[in-house]
Symmetry: C2
Subunit: 188 residues, 2 copies
């Protein structure tokens, strides 16, 4: 049998799910121990910095995954195809709406004070990548910026409402309509 019951990356993945579900403050180390099956003391062996190191590692891992999605937007190729590919990735990333957004959770759960800069930067990275692909589609920079911001707002809102109502339709619909909203001919 393996030395460790669970790999570090798998543990971080489970910890991430706890933070997404319950927010920063409500996620106790005991809870994390249960979720990972690792025992409190073992957790401190793997993450000597305690809860703060755990959440930092979660940010790092989630950041990498988001980076993959943004990479799809930045890749060469037809803008519409890039957007559709990224939407597909977003769907998987959020488990079809079942998973919360870590950013949103942290914003509303006491984690904001600790990670204010990271949070602001993450929202900005999304907007920048979306604006870039829209510019590639020939959309003027100012319009592209506005639509990109609107898309991020809708994504966040759909996740919150989906979770609050426990009805995934809000997330699913938003995902389906976003490409059209982003690329439409109209002025706004």
């Amino acid at each position: 049998m393996p030395r460790t019951k669970i790999s570090r990356e798998d543990a971080i993945e489970r910890i991430a799910e706890e933070f997404r579900r319950h927010g920063y403050a409500a996620t106790s180390v005991s809870r994390i121990a249960e979720a990972t099956g690792l025992g409190r003391a073992s957790l401190y062996h793997h993450f000597p910095g305690g809860k703060e190191e755990m959440v930092r590692e979660v940010f790092r891992k989630v950041g990498e995954e988001v980076g993959q999605i943004l990479g799809l937007l930045r890749a060469p190729g037809d803008p519409r195809e890039r957007i559709l590919a990224s939407m597909h990735a977003v769907d998987r990333f959020y488990g079809g709406g079942a998973k919360n957004c870590l950013l949103g959770s942290m914003v509303l759960s006491g984690g904001l004070d600790l990670f204010a800069d990271e949070l602001g930067g993450a929202f900005g990275a999304w907007v920048d990548a979306l604006r870039g692909v829209l510019e590639d589609a020939g959309i003027p920079s100012k319009v592209a910026q506005r639509r990109a911001e609107d898309a991020v707002v809708r994504l966040q809102g759909a996740l919150v409402v989906t979770r609050g109502t426990r009805d995934p339709k809000f997330f699913q619909r938003m995902l389906k309509e976003l490409p059209g909203n982003l690329l439409e001919e109209g002025g706004a």
Copy 2:
């Protein structure tokens, strides 16, 4: 001088602000004591049920305020005027984007388990009131429902992003554009 330093309703208002800012789990009774100037033991005198009663009272009060706003939507009169009046009220209610949505906070901060039904119902009440005013404006029921849901999603998203980026423009813009989005001629 008055018997009490602060009225019950004023205290609840301040407690609400703490829950909005920090979420349920991160809002300690000590923090509430500071925010209200009431002292921990006094708080338990006013709210024998402790933290849970405090948050219930907050829900009740915020619910009343939201009821006022929804009343503007349900009132007789020109639909556009009713929407504009409610948007103005929403602006005040959220302090121009400075105040978080209690619903959103509770959804992501450990309060969800305790108040799942209330939360779902509150989102539904918003959608129903908005759909009603749009139907009064002659918009078909199905389209009205969809636009109403979209408006609630945008509102929640704008509040999250505004708070995460500490830039009120997301909220302000959403508020300004919502009446047009709701009433536009187009198909969606």
